[in-house]
C-alpha cells in the first residue's frame, strides 16, 4: 500500500504567543508536530507493520522551519518525506489544493492521513477539502480503524460518547482523533536514521494547481482578553452553597422552576 500522512508544524501549546503587526504571531517560539498528526503518523506506521509491503510518505506544507516536523514524522516511522516550501501560511483551500498536487505528482495514494484538526488555526476542514479535490471519501475524528480488502471501516465520535461506524471505499482520507492509538515516540537510533531519509522539496509556487474560488484572510489577530475579575466566596460549606445557588439563580439565571 501507499500511505500518505499530512503533518503540520505548529507552535507548542505551552509557547508564549506574541502578536506582530496585528495579523501574525512571532514565530520565534518552540514548534512541534501538531499533536493529532502524531496519531496520523502512528496509524500509518501501524499499517506498515501489520500489512507489510507498505510505503509511508509524510507530507508537509510550511516555511523552512517545518522541515523539523517532517523529520519527526520520518523518525516516527515514515519512509520518506515531501516538503512543500512556502513563505507564508496559506488558508486551508490553498493548502488542500497544494497537498493534492504534490501527492499526485508523487504517486497514487491508497490512504491519506491527517490529524483531525490543527491546534494553531483550528480550522477542522483541510482533510475534507483534500478528499473533495481527489474525489474520494473522507472521515474525521476517527478513533478506530480496520483495514478491509477494498475499504476501511472506521468509528468516529459523536455527542455524549456515541460513535458512528462507517465504511469508506479506498482510496480515502482519514482525519485521526486522539484516541485512535498511542503514538510511539522515536528512539535515538530512529532519529539518527531519519536524518538520512529522503526529503523531496518543492516550492509552493512551482506546484501546478487551479487557484481556489474562495479564500479566508486574517484581518486582525488579538490576544484573547482576560476580562474576569475573580471574587472569593467564603464561609462554611453551607454558606458558600447558599451564595452559589443565589448566583446561579439571580446572576446566571440558570435555575428554572
Amino acid at each position: 500500500m501507499r500511505v500518505y500522512v499530512c503533518v503540520k508544524h505548529v507552535p507548542d501549546t505551552a509557547a508564549r504567543i506574541t502578536i506582530l503587526e496585528d495579523n501574525r504571531i512571532d514565530e520565534r517560539v518552540t514548534f512541534i508536530m501538531n499533536p493529532y498528526d502524531e496519531n496520523a503518523v502512528e496509524e500509518a506506521a501501524r499499517i506498515k507493520r501489520d500489512v507489510g509491503d507498505t510505503e509511508v510518505i509524510a507530507v508537509t506544507l510550511g516555511t523552512q522551519a517545518a522541515e523539523a516536523t517532517l523529520r519527526s514524522a520520518l523518525a516516527m516511522g515514515a519512509d520518506r518525506g515531501i516538503f512543500i516550501k512556502s513563505d507564508d501560511h496559506p488558508d486551508s483551500m490553498v493548502t488542500a489544493a497544494a497537498l493534492k498536487a504534490a501527492i499526485e505528482l508523487d504517486g497514487k495514494p491508497d490512504i491519506i492521513f491527517t490529524g483531525k484538526e490543527s491546534i494553531d488555526s483550528e480550522g477542522f476542514q483541510t482533510m475534507y477539502r483534500l478528499a473533495a479535490n481527489f474525489g474520494i471519501p473522507a472521515a474525521s475524528n476517527v478513533v478506530t480503524l480496520s483495514l478491509e480488502p477494498d475499504t476501511v471501516i472506521v468509528e468516529y465520535e459523536l455527542e455524549a460518547g456515541a460513535r458512528e461506524v462507517v465504511e469508506l471505499a479506498l482510496p480515502c482520507v482519514i482525519g485521526t482523533g486522539k484516541n485512535l492509538n498511542k503514538p510511539n515516540y522515536p528512539t535515538l537510533p530512529a532519529i539518527m536514521k531519519a536524518r538520512k531519509k529522503e526529503i523531496k522539496q518543492i516550492d509552493l509556487e512551482d506546484l501546478n494547481f487551479e487557484k481556489p474560488a474562495g479564500r479566508v484572510e486574517i484581518l486582525e489577530l488579538k490576544p484573547a482578553a482576560e476580562k474576569r475579575q475573580p471574587k472569593e466566596l467564603t464561609g462554611t460549606p453551607d454558606e458558600v452553597a447558599v451564595q452559589i445557588v443565589r448566583i446561579l439563580q439571580e446572576e446566571a439565571r440558570v435555575l428554572h422552576d
Binding site: E157, K222, P237
Partner: protein, 317 residues
C-alpha cells in the same frame, strides 16, 4: 435581498436550542432566512423556527422522503439546496455534527468556511474565532461566491423575533457517496450533552477517583447540568474521553462552568474559556484557575459539593 441558509440540528425530533443563537446571528435587515431541516419537520419545530424569525423552512428530501442519514448525502443535498434557492451564505453549529457536515459542504462548493465562530458580521463577511488554543482571537474575512460559518454552540445569545414561515420542499439528487453508515453505537455517557449544556460541572485531579465523580453527577442532576472532566481525570481512567473538556477534548460555552478540583491549564482553558461564568472550587488558593474565574472557593470540594447538592435540592422543593 441577502438569502441566508441555516443548517438546523435536531435531536430526537426536537430542534436543539443552540440553533436559536445561530438563527439570531443570521437575522438582519433585508435578509431572508432559510432553515434547512434534514430529517422531516413537525409543527413544534415550525413554531420554534417562526419564533426566532425564519422566513422559509426547507424540508430537504430525496424522492418523497427525508434522506437516509449519511454525512456525504446530507452535505450534497444542502449544497444543492443552496444553489437552487440562490443562497450564498450558510450558518450552522460548530459542534460534533457540524464538524462532520459543514466542512464537507464547504469542500463540495470549494467555498471558504470559518469554524467555531464566536461572532459574525454577515454584511462584511467577517467572523471572529479563537486560535492558538484560545490565546488569540482572529478576525477572519471570507471571500468567494459562498460564505460558510460554523458557530460555537451557545456563543451567541438567542433572542426571539416572530416571523411567519413558509414550508417548502427541496428534492435533492443524491449521488454515490463512497461512504456507508454501518451502525450507530450509543454512548455510555449519560444525561445532558456537554456542548448543549447551560451548566457544566467539571472535575479534575481533585476528584481523586472514579467513584467520587458520582458527587458531581448527583449535583448536576439538580440543575440539569452536564458533567465534564479535565484531561487528568480522563487519562487516569476515572471517566470516559467523551467527557473531556479542553484542547484535546470538547470545546464548550455554557452559561456557567463549575470547575471542581481543576488547576486550570492553558489546554483546559482552550476548551472552556468562553463560558459566560466560571466558578472554581479548589483547595489550592494558588491554582491558576482561581485567577481566571468569576468566583472562586478556596476549600475542599468534598465539603462544598455535597452542601451545594443539598441546597439545590432544598431550593427545588
Amino acid at each position: 435581498m441577502q438569502k441566508i441558509g441555516i443548517l438546523i440540528e435536531t435531536k430526537e425530533g426536537e430542534i436543539k436550542k443552540t440553533n436559536l443563537g445561530v438563527i439570531t446571528a443570521a437575522r438582519g435587515d433585508g435578509r431572508e432566512l432559510y432553515a434547512f431541516l434534514m430529517d422531516g419537520i413537525n409543527d413544534d419545530q415550525k413554531d420554534v423556527l417562526q419564533s426566532y424569525g425564519v422566513h422559509k423552512i426547507v424540508e430537504v428530501i430525496s424522492e418523497d422522503a427525508p434522506i437516509d442519514y449519511n454525512p456525504v448525502s446530507w452535505s450534497q443535498a444542502v449544497s444543492q439546496a443552496m444553489v437552487h434557492f440562490g443562497i450564498n451564505t450558510l450558518l450552522g453549529l460548530a459542534g460534533i455534527q457540524g464538524q462532520n457536515l459543514l466542512p464537507r459542504i464547504a469542500a463540495g462548493l470549494n467555498a471558504p468556511l470559518v469554524m467555531d465562530c464566536s461572532a459574525i458580521d454577515l454584511a462584511a463577511h467577517t467572523a471572529q474565532k479563537s486560535q492558538f488554543s484560545g490565546r488569540t482571537i482572529a478576525t477572519l474575512k471570507t471571500k468567494g461566491n459562498f460564505h460558510l460559518y460554523g458557530i460555537r454552540p451557545n456563543a451567541i445569545e438567542a433572542l426571539p423575533a416572530f416571523c411567519r414561515a413558509d414550508v417548502v420542499s427541496f428534492q435533492a439528487e443524491i449521488k454515490k457517496a463512497g461512504l456507508t453508515v454501518k451502525e450507530l453505537k450509543q454512548g455510555d455517557a449519560s444525561g445532558v450533552d456537554l456542548t448543549e449544556a447551560d451548566v457544566i460541572l467539571a472535575g479534575g485531579r481533585g476528584l481523586e477517583n472514579s467513584e467520587n465523580f458520582s458527587l458531581l453527577f448527583e449535583c448536576a442532576q439538580m440543575v440539569g447540568a452536564a458533567v465534564g472532566a479535565s484531561r487528568v481525570a480522563v487519562d487516569e481512567g476515572w471517566v470516559p474521553y467523551a467527557m473531556q473538556v479542553g484542547q484535546t477534548g470538547k470545546t464548550v460555552s455554557p452559561k456557567v462552568y463549575i470547575a471542581c478540583g481543576i488547576s486550570g491549564s492553558v489546554q483546559h482553558f482552550a476548551g472552556m474559556k468562553t463560558a459566560a461564568m466560571i466558578i472554581a472550587i479548589n483547595k489550592d488558593p494558588e491554582a491558576a484557575i482561581m485567577k481566571r474565574c468569576d468566583y472562586f472557593v478556596a476549600a475542599d470540594l468534598f465539603e462544598i459539593i455535597p452542601a451545594l447538592s443539598a441546597r439545590l435540592k432544598a431550593t427545588a422543593n
